[in-house]
């Protein structure tokens, strides 16, 4: 049956910035959906303010609107483009909420817009927990017992009647935020109080925790002919109680009998029909009692999700692509399965002949004050997946993909097996220390089948401890590799170097085999090269013989400091190379990304981006060269080892990487070029650190070497802080420390440039909104620069060019510098693509990645006729911080990066662009003349606020000050009226305050409660003087009528 012919154009809703709980899986789904619809001949219009996303890249859709995802802006796009339909199911809960908002305001009807992929009724049914429960019961299925409560007294009843733990969920909030799992009455009361506040309807649901029950998820697809298929079954290692996004997940399910699985499948299909999921994908979660197999339904997501992205990668079945085509009216039996060369239809259930394991990645080192225990709200920042012929191999490959350096890995001797980040490592350590399977099962609730598999691995390790390299004969080593032991881990156990294990492996002729992910366990010939390596097979898949073949390394899991931006660069680079007639080979292990889609590169290796695997693949594929500059630090750090193995690395070579990472060498280069750097010194012990700090002069910034996104970086302002900080960090010859002068309140600038080895072009010079000292990834930035004089800008650019041209690096490069007291200081240089590259590409409209690729291939910038672009409009990039998701984390900015994503705003004037960026970030913008209030927290006399307050008042704001310690400092009383903290909190609650300013710096007693409340209520706030000043300027700006 053909697709619906009335539809000609479709508006696709994008998911906006990367936040915890909504990461780049929606970029993957959205990209697939846009491409599928475009291929099918529809005009695709996209709205998404996330500049780092692949989906907002120009070839993906016909019209891209990088605008805030608010009803006003969506309507604006609808008026301009007049689409026939809107597809909201590719953007997570954000998309569904937008569709519901449009629906409730009657805007869909007004503009004659059809919702496709879902209908409002089913969205409401699946999202309203009480309705959903009723419906599940009507089908004769059970759910965990729960009650709804709108007062504390009602909540108390649940506590009296039921045993803890209990799950508290606020109604109608995203991702379970505001709720949690309570293990004690005290926790219960505090979570309930918070949840009652967070819930938009004032209602919460208290649910019995199916403690110790096994958790499963099914991914389903339904078409308009009522055909339903299950794409994938997944089993969460962590039993019920941990958010599925924070759980280690294995596909397919491992511990169910066929009748148990079929009962679950049947229930899921019945729910799909009952909820009337119109067309497309959905995810249903189940709990199974391990004592008797009793099944209960936990929840349903009537859309593509993180799980569907995982399921797509685990099985090869492109759920989002199929869902998009079903939404426009196709049916499953008329669509074909590309992975088998379209021999079979999309209407079938994929089978695996391998096991996939997903491990979530946490950045707890960045958020030390957040509660360690995992619960019902998601905390992980990213994830990795690994495929192996058996569970053990996939598990150990997954551990490899986490990139945990052996030095960071401390073996534990005390075992807390409650749900915590990386619990799996504790489980392994417990086995290492001789704890029994029964004990670990009892403590963790993890199913014994998995534990037995892990126990076997540890038993192998133990046997190996008494062995040595020479004793590893072919069968033994082969056996260990089949179980997934990495060369690195074997070397660690045998107390030798990984290279020796590799050598031994080659001596004995042990190489991994290559299997193809084909959705059908080999029953049909595979047509795509979606490959994983395994020691559980011979070399099945031959390497391609293309003579223009290049290997690209991806960036691994999303984490703070290395996210989707690098995936954008990788995907863009792949496309550019394919257009130039190259065959591309991609290695990456992040299931959420576009780069790991089977049709992004010619050949995809879903593998950990680590030396062992990369070298094995290079040996097999024999590419002409390898490109490492688009995968962030993950790929860049392989420069050295690749060079040692005589691999041709294009662009970033080991020399330039070392030169820019080695502080001393870099310093010498800067001195040679007469470029200033903040005074600094590398020290190897505490005493030297102290004296260096004093010579340089406080404040200083302390940086441990080779760090990603400012990890461990500290700014110290006085002696007390200095001695305290130095006591906490390791400094020795192995761990040098850089002591650097901190340029207090300096303007920070950042540039991305491209170099052909001789000549460099600056793609974009950005000015940070936050001052130096705030990590560049956490600061908003403006392109072009805002407050720096033209003369200085010219000087900065020429310095950047001189530096790059003296580096011998080819390709993209990122430079960070500061302007302090009128002088220019070089802060940092990274010889690779950076976080800001996609933003600069989208702002300038120039495909810088493509240009860099041509440079890598030897084409000069001159030959490409590339010049620095002139900027006609203004672009602002704003960082998205996770403080709303991580309660307990102080929302202050510092040298350690905390942001998870970004949005962009654009306009003719920077002030308007800045405002749009804030709207896109999800904040309410303080509107001039609206009679709203501004709250000034802890103002100090020396900060001279009076002029500022006057300005605000002249803009029609009511200004208050608030002193948390209830102590008004002398000389402030005249400033503006004073409110106590409690009153401020109530005003935030009822929406009277629209801007909170709290620039209390870290060396003072601070109180985060007001800021945290503001964040929870999405009230705009600033925490630095510079951002505050720029905000005021932005508010004061009178915009001309909007022109896009």
């Amino acid at each position: 049956m053909p697709a619906t012919t009335e539809l000609k154009s479709v508006l696709v809703i994008g998911s906006g910035p990367i936040v915890i709980g909504q990461a780049c899986e929606f970029d993957y789904s959205g990209t697939q959906a846009c491409l599928a619809l475009k291929e099918a001949g529809y005009r695709v219009i996209l709205i998404n303010a996330n500049p780092a996303s692949v989906m907002t890249d120009s070839p993906i859709s016909d019209a891209v609107y990088l605008q805030p995802l608010t009803v006003e802006w969506v309507v604006d796009v609808i008026q301009r483009e007049k689409p026939d339909a809107i597809l909201p199911t590719m953007a997570g809960q954000t998309g569904l909420n937008m569709a519901m908002a449009l629906h409730h305001q009657g805007l869909l009807a007004k503009y004659g817009l059809t919702i496709i992929g879902a209908w409002p009724g089913s969205i409401e049914l699946a999202d309203d927990r009480q309705c959903f429960k009723r419906l599940v019961h009507q089908l004769g299925l059970s759910t965990p017992r729960s009650i709804a409560a709108d007062t504390m007294a009602q909540a108390e009843q649940a506590l009296e009647n039921w045993r803890l733990p209990l799950i508290i969920r606020p109604c109608y909030t995203l991702g379970g935020y505001g709720g949690g799992v309570a293990y004690t009455p005290k926790q219960f009361r505090s979570i309930c109080a918070k949840a009652l506040q967070a819930s938009t309807s004032g209602k919460i649901q208290i649910e019995q925790c199916m403690n110790g029950h096994k958790e499963f998820e099914l991914e389903l697809i339904r078409d308009r002919q009522d055909n339903v298929i299950v794409v994938c079954s997944m089993e969460n290692l962590d039993p019920v109680g941990v958010h599925t996004g924070d759980s280690v997940t294995v596909a397919p399910a491992q511990t169910l009998t066929d009748p148990e699985y079929q009962a679950m499948r049947k229930a899921a299909i019945a729910i799909m029909r009952k909820v009337e999921v119109d067309t497309g994908g959905a995810n249903i979660q189940f709990a199974v009692n391990p004592e008797n197999g009793e099944l209960s339904v936990i929840e349903m997501n009537p859309r593509v999700s993180r799980s569907s992205a995982l399921a797509s990668k685990a099985t090869g079945y492109p759920i989002a692509r199929v869902a998009a085509l079903l939404a426009v009216g196709h049916t499953l039996d008329e669509l074909t399965n590309e992975l088998t060369g379209s021999q079979i239809p999309a209407a079938f259930e994929p089978v695996q002949d391998y096991v996939t394991t997903k491990i979530p990645c946490f950045n707890d080192d960045k958020f030390p004050t957040v509660c360690q225990r995992l619960g019902s709200s998601m905390r992980s920042i990213g994830e990795i997946m690994a495929l192996g012929r058996c569970f053990q191999e996939s598990l150990q490959k997954a551990l490899m993909a986490l990139e945990l350096e052996p030095s960071e890995r401390r073996y534990q001797t005390v075992f807390d097996l409650t749900a915590r980040p990386y619990r799996l490592l504790t489980v392994m350590d417990a086995f290492r220390q001789g704890r029994t399977l029964a004990w670990i099962h009892q403590q963790s609730g993890i199913d014994c089948w998995f534990l037995a598999q892990i126990e076997e691995l540890i038993a192998c390790e133990k046997r190996l401890i008494h062995s040595n390299l020479q004793c590893l004969d072919r069968p033994k080593l082969k056996h260990l590799k089949r179980l997934g032991f990495s060369d690195g881990r074997l070397a660690e156990i045998l107390n030798t170097d990984p290279s020796r294990i590799r050598q031994r492996r080659r001596q004995l002729g042990i190489k991994p085999g290559l299997n193809i992910v084909d959705t059908c366990a080999g029953e049909f010939d595979a047509a795509t090269d979606y490959i994983y390596t395994t020691y559980g097979a011979g070399p099945h898949s031959p390497a391609s013989t293309h003579n223009r073949k290049l290997l690209l390394l991806g960036s691994g899991p999303n984490r703070v400091g290395q996210g989707i931006e690098f995936d954008y660069c990788c995907v863009r680079a792949t496309r550019a190379l394919r257009q130039l007639g190259f065959e591309t080979v991609m290695i990456n292990c992040n299931p959420e990304t576009v780069s790991t889609d089977y049709n992004t590169a010619d050949r995809l290796y879903f593998e950990p981006v680590v030396a062992e695997r990369v070298l094995d693949i290079i040996e097999h594929e024999k590419p002409w060269g390898v490109i490492i500059q688009f995968g962030g630090q993950t790929s860049l750090k392989l420069a050295d080892i690749l060079q040692r193995h005589d691999v041709l690395v294009l662009g970033s070579n080991a020399h330039t990487v070392r030169l820019t990472e080695n502080r001393h060498e870099f310093q010498l280069l800067l001195q040679r070029l007469a470029i200033a750097q903040p005074a600094n010194k590398v020290v190897h012990n505490r005493t030297d650190a102290l004296s260096a700090a004093h010579t340089i002069g406080l404040p200083v910034i302390l940086r441990p070497s080779y760090v990603l996104s400012g990890q461990g970086m500290q700014i110290v302002h006085n002696d007390k802080q200095l001695t305290e900080t130095l006591r906490q960090i390791t400094i020795d010859s192995e761990h040098p420390l850089l002591v650097e002068r901190f340029l207090d309140n300096a303007i920070e600038l950042e540039a991305d440039a491209v170099s052909d080895g001789n000549d460099a072009v600056i793609c974009g010079l950005m000015e940070h909104v936050e001052p130096a000292g705030v990590h560049s990834g956490d600061s908003a930035c403006v392109l072009p620069t805002l407050t720096v004089s033209d003369e200085l800008v010219g000087l900065i650019k020429s310095k950047i060019k001189t530096l790059i041209e003296n580096l011998g690096h080819v390709g993209l490069v990122n430079v960070q510098l500061a302007v302090w007291q009128g002088r220019i200081y070089m802060l940092e240089l990274n010889p690779r693509a950076s976080r800001t590259v996609p933003f600069v590409c989208k702002a300038t409209g120039i495909p810088w990645v493509d240009i860099a690729i041509r440079c890598l291939l030897g084409e000069s910038l001159q030959a490409q006729a590339m010049k620095e672009p002139t900027m006609e409009r203004c672009y602002v990039k704003e960082a998205i911080l996770p403080f709303d998701k991580l309660s307990g984390q102080s929302p202050r900015l510092g040298p350690q990066m905390q942001a998870t994503g970004e949005v962009m705003g654009q306009s003719d004037h920077w002030a308007d662009a800045y405002k749009k960026a804030q709207l896109a970030a999800g904040f309410y913008w303080p509107q001039a003349g609206s009679g709203q209030s501004v709250c000034l927290c802890q103002p100090k006399p020396e900060e001279n606020w009076q002029a500022f307050v006057n300005q605000l008042e002249s803009q029609g704001f009511q200004v208050y000050q608030c002193h948390v310690k209830d102590k008004i400092l002398s000389g402030l009383s005249f400033l503006c009226p004073t409110l106590d903290k409690q009153l401020v909190l109530s005003l935030l609650d009822n929406g009277s305050i629209s801007w909170v300013i709290d620039i209390t710096s870290h060396n003072e007693d601070k109180d985060d409660e007001i800021l945290q409340q503001a964040i929870l209520k999405r009230v705009y706030y600033t925490t630095t003087r510079r951002a505050t000043r720029l905000t005021l300027a932005s508010i004061a700006y009178e915009p001309a009528p909007e022109l896009i």
Binding site: Q225, D226, N227, I229, V230, S233, P252, A253, Q254, T255, L256, T257, D258, P259, Y261, Q262, R265, K266, I269, P290, E291, N292, G293, L332, D333, I344, P345, A347, F348, E349, P350, V351, Q352, D353, Y354, V355, R389, C390, F391, D447, C448, W449, A452, P475, K476, H479, G513, N515, C520, A521, G522, E523, F524, D525, G536, A537, G538, H540
Partner: protein, 375 residues
């Protein structure tokens, strides 16, 4: 690990694979087939349809939930042997009575693990079904030819004759519902097929494959089901003759799997041996009656020749994998069949309405053909 008992798998093309024994000691010949199901190994190995076959499981972990009392399709293992990538030795599932290796040893079934089963699937797909030999006795390339020469071709064995019941027996309907009396031709019937009919309220009389039509008619059945079973349908001569007779008597007939092929032959159609068959639980079948795609359980090496069918019969279900005939009905006679396994077990129950249609057919017959019967 290194000291575990070894086992070998030899194929008729001369290739030998070495692995570890995870079943009984000894040797077994069989036709090598692959099954892609990720659950339900217990149902598979106890399904009489697999008689004489060596089953390669493409899913790498087999034995995860052990062996339990509920998931038998017969009272024994019918597969000649099994070949897996990785066997679970210790089980923890609440229903598990014993581990799969211990059950296999008890049943005298050979099994081998640590085999690259994906490579075997690949081979089967390209070369078609092949004879194979699993043994715990060391073999070499020199003695392998002798072994294969001495063994008779398993294709010529009349498997249904071996798998059928020796004597007739009756089964009551579930919960004393007043329902139809169905005679089941046991060509190697799965317990779940019987259970499905019992659940629908049918009282069953199970008869051997060789039961003549007159004897069946004498039981005065409301309908007759020709069961699933192993091997080549053309070997079931006596059943085909009996079914032809029953067709002419307008007895409502239902064929499942081998029964479907027997029915086709009885209708005058032909069957052929496919390259490597269908063995899995993810097969899409377009069911015309429901106008839907059913995900179905499949296990067969033979198929019905599309062109050979008489004009009155029509194909009411097709495989979306390869377009093969998946179901038959007839304008002139109350017959119905399914090539796959609508009863699932293992596998989905999407196609369960098939059995209701059989009940409807019996019901219709009772009204439509009532006059014929009297005549």
């Amino acid at each position: 690990m290194i000291n575990r008992p070894r086992a070998w798998l030899a194929l008729a093309d001369g290739s030998i694979y070495q692995g570890y024994s995870v079943g009984a000691s000894g040797s077994a010949f069989g036709e090598l087939v692959f099954n892609t199901a990720m659950t339900g190994y217990q149902q598979v190995i106890t399904d009489p349809s697999y008689a004489g076959q060596l089953i390669t499981f493409s899913y790498p972990h087999i034995g995860n939930v052990g062996v339990n009392d509920a998931d038998f399709e017969s009272d024994r293992v019918w597969a000649a042997g099994i070949i897996v990538h990785s066997m679970t030795h210790q089980t923890y599932h609440w229903q598990s009575r014993q581990s799969l290796p211990s059950f296999l040893r008890e049943q005298g079934t050979v099994a081998i693990e640590n085999i690259d089963t994906r490579a075997l699937v690949h081979k089967l797909r390209h070369h078609g079904t092949i004879s194979a030999y699993v043994t715990t006795e060391p073999i070499s390339e020199t003695n392998i030819w002798r072994i294969f020469q001495n063994e008779q071709n398993t294709e010529h064995i009349n498997w249904p004759k071996r798998a059928t019941t020796g004597h007739s027996y009756s089964l009551e309907a579930d919960g004393n519902q007043p329902g139809y009396h169905v005679v089941v031709y046991d060509l190697g019937v799965k317990l779940s097929l019987l259970r499905t009919l019992q659940t629908l309220g049918c009282r069953l009389t199970v008869v051997p494959a060789t039961a003549p039509a007159n004897a069946v008619s004498a039981l005065q059945p409301d309908g007759v089901l020709i069961s699933n079973g192993p091997g080549d349908p053309s070997m079931c001569q006596s059943t085909i003759e009996a079914v032809s007779e029953l067709i002419s008597r307008r007895t409502p007939l239902c064929g499942v799997c081998l029964g479907h092929q027997v029915l086709a032959l009885a209708l005058g159609g032909q069957t052929y041996k496919t390259r490597f068959g269908h063995h899995g639980i993810n097969h899409p079948v377009y069911d015309k009656a429901a106008d839907k795609v059913c995900i179905s359980s499949q296990n067969h090496n033979y198929a019905v020749e599309r062109q050979s069918l008489p004009a009155a019969s029509h194909i009411n279900a097709v495989s979306l994998f390869d377009g093969t005939v998946q179901g038959l009905a007839s304008d002139s006679h109350p017959v119905l069949s399914a090539q796959g396994h609508p009863e699932g077990s293992p596998g989905p129950s999407d196609w369960q309405p098939f059995f209701q249609r059989f009940m409807d057919l019996i019901q219709q017959k009772a009204t439509t053909y009532a006059s014929d019967d009297r005549a």
